[in-house]
Amino acid sequence: MAAYVVRRLLQAVVLLFLVSVLTFLLIHSAPGGPALLANPELSREQIQQMTEQLGLDDPLPVQYLRWLGNVARGDFGSSYNTVQPVTRLIAERLPNTVMLTGLALVLSILVAVPLGVLSALKRNSAIDRIIAGFSFIGVSIPVFWLGIMLIIVFAVQLKVLPAGGMYTLGAEFSLVDRLKHLLLPSLVLVVANLAELTRYTRSGMINVLGEDYIRTARAKGLPNRVVLTRHALRNALIPVITIIGVLLPRAVSGAAITETVFSWPGMGRLAVEAAMTRDYPVVLGATLTVALVVVLSSLVTDLLYAYIDPRIRLS
């Protein structure tokens, strides 16, 4: 087990290295340099000078190795746009995103798993179709549209919830205030997650319910509740965990569109804004952070498999 984890972590280092090379190549091959230099007031000489100062006139391998050398010393560089260290930017934004997407993920699981089980048990009934219908509507609604609609209804018309931001500016910290600001954006994310989770739970559950060991359990005369929770659900959750493993990195990479519509200062916005303005150090820092989380969460997912299904051996 320990050897397995160590091996996976070593693989992760190689993977992160490859991700950084790829990101570096991609962002540098995108046309139009840093938006910083796209200032009509700057003269040709000034642009030349700044290009040199930022080291952007060196060959790409030289630039990459310089960046890698700095990273090895713990220096991820500073944002071109805000002149702040990349590590600080990410440290400021990451908790905001985890708060929002984490809450959304938990809510999604709490809602989707029971709905999926219900769908499976009442397969092809009216309830199943209604749940499926709503899931598909949820996954089909564009996030930005739903976000703006919710703002118009709850903030502009009813005036019961804030239109954006993380908290009421100038007010003392209060949990209620924070939850009010979290409600609409996390609702948008829950709606978007719901379909996937519900459908996976449903199909997992249906598969398991047809298994021999369920029939055996029932034949032993176990109560239905015990059969479902002990025998069926636990096994049906394996594909669900896979999906959560996919959703988890999303919780860190942020939900750029939702964060933008709700003026939420999260990672998604940071990364997208950096990519659009070709803020190279921030793009690299944000991508690596997300890549790290992807690697770690896939490791955690694999470990969870082994816990849930003892037939799976890690080796």
Binding site: G32, G33, A38, N81, P142, G147, G170, T260, W264
Partner: protein, 585 residues
């Protein structure tokens, strides 16, 4: 002929109406793209925001301050700043929307719009602008007064006494010298060196007197000092890395009516009242600049009363109609939109061709239907806001497709068998038309122009690209026509953009006669003579048509009506008067 155009414009308008909805979606989807453009735009002092246009009574949503003015031919807003209702009241926090993260440090890049706006409240320049009698004039800010020598090569500024930095240190002539030495230092990435590049050296005469020795006679110098040239404290920045003064940026110190309080990345920047402000303590307790990247979210927050002020686009006016406590103001700004012409392309060097290209565009229809009336047809590069400098009596290019066709034929272009114009040597008339992505109004205008030029038999290829690429192509003359705008200081000086030796002349335009006049006009100490020279210059420009002039847009401000005494000028300038603003109960 008019009919078919009407149809096209009707479609455009239809598109325009839909844009308000589609844009809503697009903006949400690509708001990051808008951000980039926003930031970049900002850089040029303008923006999607300031740039694109400004509404008029068309919507019926506006209250009257500007309505009366809008009917006058020049369409200049009234001089009176705002509706002042009663006695100013102290207290309250004013909340304004920004589209991007600001950096409260005025010397170096990015120097984006968000930075400029925030800096107006924290710092002061030596001069600032106000609107008086329908024209913008320069008035003292940190300066008490100034005088120039006879040939305008030396300006001596007397500074206000008793001004203190937010940390309590006195403001002196040393700070002024330090600031301009920094901006002019070639190792400093000063974003706005252009306006003060005429300075040769700065001399401290005494504690409250500073002398600027210029490289050449320069009449608009005091105007340029008010153009985002904020003074920074020497005692905190001396010896620091001026390109990256991390400590200072974390805790900026100015002389302005508001002091920096906090900046939360991606969320907001807050400033609080400076009770010791030299021009009297502000009425407001503070200002919160909220970072709201999405255009529709900005509108929603204005409607919800969570933001007191946001600059919006014409298509967003509908979304604010009938909103409680929201006033939509049209603010004048020194800005013009145009089609840049690449003069290194032989077929565009013929003035008849450029005139034909102008005749083929119905500018009045663009103003009415694309800008929805929030603007005015441009006659040249000098804005009517510059008062008597503006010369309306110049050659204009009325919409006339037949005349356009005739001019092209005169220039040797005749339609070939495929309907494309061809000259004697068999060259086909093609136009590579460049524009920046993410600006709905500009994209509509360019599409319209493409249709118009195609009707004349010109093969038009659109090249709508991301902002940085657009600027790169502009800078490298990789276009035939290109849509752009210039927001300039409120002075008629056109040297930077029109003189053949200026690096900012992005059109490869050369006109020796104009070159001479431009140098003469910026060196002329006598105002009346200067006015005369600029009238002549405008005539010359209108005849030779270096670029195709389109319109002077107005800025659309969505403002909560509790805001009082915010001057009705573009927000870049209005924000320098925040100490006067107060909030109604």
């Amino acid at each position: 002929m008019g009919e078919s155009v009407d149809r096209v414009l009707q479609q455009l308008r239809g598109a325009g109406v839909r844009v308000s909805r589609r844009e809503l979606l697009q903006l949400a989807m690509f708001s990051s793209a808008a951000l980039v453009s926003g930031a970049a735009l900002a850089a040029c002092g303008g923006g999607e925001e300031g740039g694109a246009s400004t509404p008029s009574g068309a919507t019926g949503a506006q209250p009257s301050p500007t309505a009366a003015a809008a009917t006058t031919p020049a369409q200049q807003p009234a001089a009176t700043p705002t509706t002042s209702a009663g006695q100013p009241r102290r207290g309250g926090v004013w909340r304004m929307a920004l589209h991007a993260n600001p950096t409260a440090y005025p010397i170096t890049i990015p120097g984006a719009l968000a930075d400029l706006l925030v800096n107006k409240t924290i710092y002061n320049c030596l001069t600032q602008y106000q609107l008086k009698d329908n024209q913008i004039e320069v008035v003292p800010d940190l300066a008490e007064s100034w005088e120039a020598n006879d040939d305008l090569t030396e300006y001596t500024f007397t500074l206000k006494q008793g001004v203190k930095w937010h940390d309590g240190q006195p403001f002196t002539a040393e700070d002024v010298k330090f600031t301009f030495d920094a901006i002019l230092n070639p190792n400093v990435n000063a974003a706005l060196r252009g306006p003060v590049s005429s300075i040769d050296r700065v001399e401290v005469v005494d504690e409250y007197t500073v002398r600027f020795v210029l490289k050449r006679p320069f009449a608009p110098f005091p105007v340029m000092l008010g153009y985002n040239q904020a003074i920074v404290p020497k005692h905190l920045l001396e010896g620091k890395d001026l390109n990256q003064p991390t400590e200072f940026i974390a805790n900026p110190v100015g002389t302005g009516p508001f002091k920096f309080k906090e900046f939360v990345q991606g969320s907001h920047l807050e400033v609080v009242a400076n009770p010791d402000y030299f021009d009297g303590a502000p009425y407001l307790d503070g200002i919160v600049f909220k970072v709201i990247p999405d255009g529709n979210a900005r509108v929603a927050q204005v409607r919800a009363g969570e933001v007191d002020f946001a600059v919006i686009e014409p298509p967003q006016v509908d979304a604010l109609q009938g909103a409680e406590n929201v006033e939509i103001r049209e603010a004048p700004q020194v800005n013009y939109y145009f089609f840049a012409v690449n003069h290194s392309v032989p077929r565009l060097q013929d003035v008849r061709v450029r005139r034909a290209l102008s005749h083929a565009i119905d500018k009045q229809a663009i103003v009415e239907r694309v800008l929805r009336g929030y603007g005015q047809v441009a006659t040249g590069p000098i804005n009517p806001l510059l008062g008597d400098y503006y010369n309306p009596d110049v050659t204009t290019y009325e919409y006339d497709m037949e005349k356009a066709a005739a001019l092209l034929e005169e220039a040797g272009w005749t339609k070939g068998p495929d309907g494309i114009l061809t000259n004697a040597s068999g060259e086909r008339f093609t136009i590579l038309f460049n524009g920046p992505k993410g600006f709905p109004v500009m994209e509509q205008v360019i599409t319209y122009a493409q249709q118009q030029y195609q009707k004349l038999g010109i093969e038009v290829t659109l090249d709508i690209v991301d902002w940085p690429i657009h600027l790169e192509k502009y800078r490298n003359l990789q276009y035939d026509l290109l849509m752009e705008w210039w927001i300039t200081p409120p002075d008629p000086d056109l040297y930077d953009h029109y003189h053949s030796e200026s690096a900012q002349n992005r059109w490869a335009y050369k006109n020796p006669q104009l070159d001479e006049l431009l140098v003469q006009a910026r060196s002329e100490p006598d105002r009346a003579k200067r006015v005369q020279l600029y009238h002549e210059i405008q005539k010359l420009i209108a005849d030779d048509l270096p670029v195709i002039y389109l319109y002077y847009p107005r800025e659309l401000q969505a403002m909560n009506t509790r805001t009082k005494d915010l001057p009705l000028i573009g927000y870049r300038d209005a924000l320098t008067w925040m100490e006067k603003v107060w909030l109604e109960e």
